[in-house]
């Protein structure tokens, strides 16, 4: 990965997106709080903006994400499909045990790789 890092930008006060760190053709998007149907558009818009800027690979940092429902899972599935169609990828990093378990239960860990740390996810790109 490109060693240059842009400074983190706080995209929305109190929203789902905590910060976005861009690095070449990849970006780390930190989510916080809860991902329900109401937050889906915010996530999809943020990722779409990154893709328009040329970002192919997205690492979703879930360290601060407390909860995700099936609508949120659907959003992640759609993001992966969209990324792959453009030659990119979505990876998940630092998810809490409850969310790791959820991803395994739904077998979505077969679709979206999970990594223990952001660095591990970035190195896998």
């Amino acid at each position: 990965m490109d060693a240059q890092r842009e400074s983190a930008a706080d995209l929305s006060e109190g929203g789902l997106i905590g910060a976005v760190r861009r690095a070449g053709r990849a970006a780390v998007v930190s989510l916080r709080g809860e991902l329900h149907v109401a937050q889906r558009e915010e996530l999809e818009s943020a990722v779409a903006e990154l893709q328009r800027e040329g970002t192919l690979h997205i690492v979703l940092d879930l360290a601060a994400l407390d909860f995700i429902g099936s609508a949120g899972l659907g959003a992640l599935v759609s993001l992966q499909k969209s990324a792959r169609s453009a030659g990119g990828s979505v990876r998940i990093a630092a998810a809490r045990p409850t969310i790791v378990s959820l991803m395994s239960l739904t077998r979505l860990d077969h679709l979206i790789p999970l990594h223990a740390t952001i660095a591990e996810a970035e190195n896998a790109i």
Binding site: H36, V37, G69, S70, L73, G74, K81, T98, L105, R107
Partner: protein, 147 residues
């Protein structure tokens, strides 16, 4: 709309909320139940599980049962103590056949954006049962002590 006999409580033990089919109203009902879980000292993992199953049941009732029609009601009945949580969600729709919902974990269904709610309810709750019409679901979560 009677509580299943083997859930171990009486109908009169249940609290009830009737909410309109909009996100804000159902969210408030969810928060009411979560507050009881916290008061009864359910651990983080259990709260996550119950919250997830409840959200799926409410979303299905609002979206599929009531067609997102805010004039239609969702009836939520619930009971919480230290040993178990019992939740009933009933919508005003015609019902459906839960046994006909495709397995979302099958390879051919993994990339579908929807269809995981019922599977998650079964996975995270101890018991899930629907009435004959399919517009009412009862869920039980036993709070078993951790060894």
């Amino acid at each position: 709309m009677r509580v299943p006999v083997d859930f171990g409580i009486r109908d009169s033990d249940l609290k009830q909320m009737v909410v309109s089919s909009d996100l804000r109203s159902v969210k408030a009902s969810e928060e009411r139940i979560i507050a009881d879980l916290v008061e009864n000292q359910y651990d983080e993992e259990s709260v996550f599980a119950i919250k997830l199953a409840l959200e799926e049941a409410l979303t299905n009732g609002v979206k599929h049962g009531n067609g997102n029609d805010p004039s239609k009601r969702i009836t939520v009945r619930f009971y919480v103590d230290a040993r178990r949580v019992i939740i009933c969600v009933r919508d005003e729709g015609p019902g459906f056949r839960p046994d006909l919902v495709p397995d979302p974990t099958a390879d051919e269904n993994l990339e579908r954006p929807n269809g995981r709610g019922i599977m998650l309810m079964h996975a995270y709750m101890t018991r899930v049962s629907y009435n004959d019409s399919g517009n009412e679901v009862w869920m039980l979560k036993e709070n078993l002590p951790r060894i």
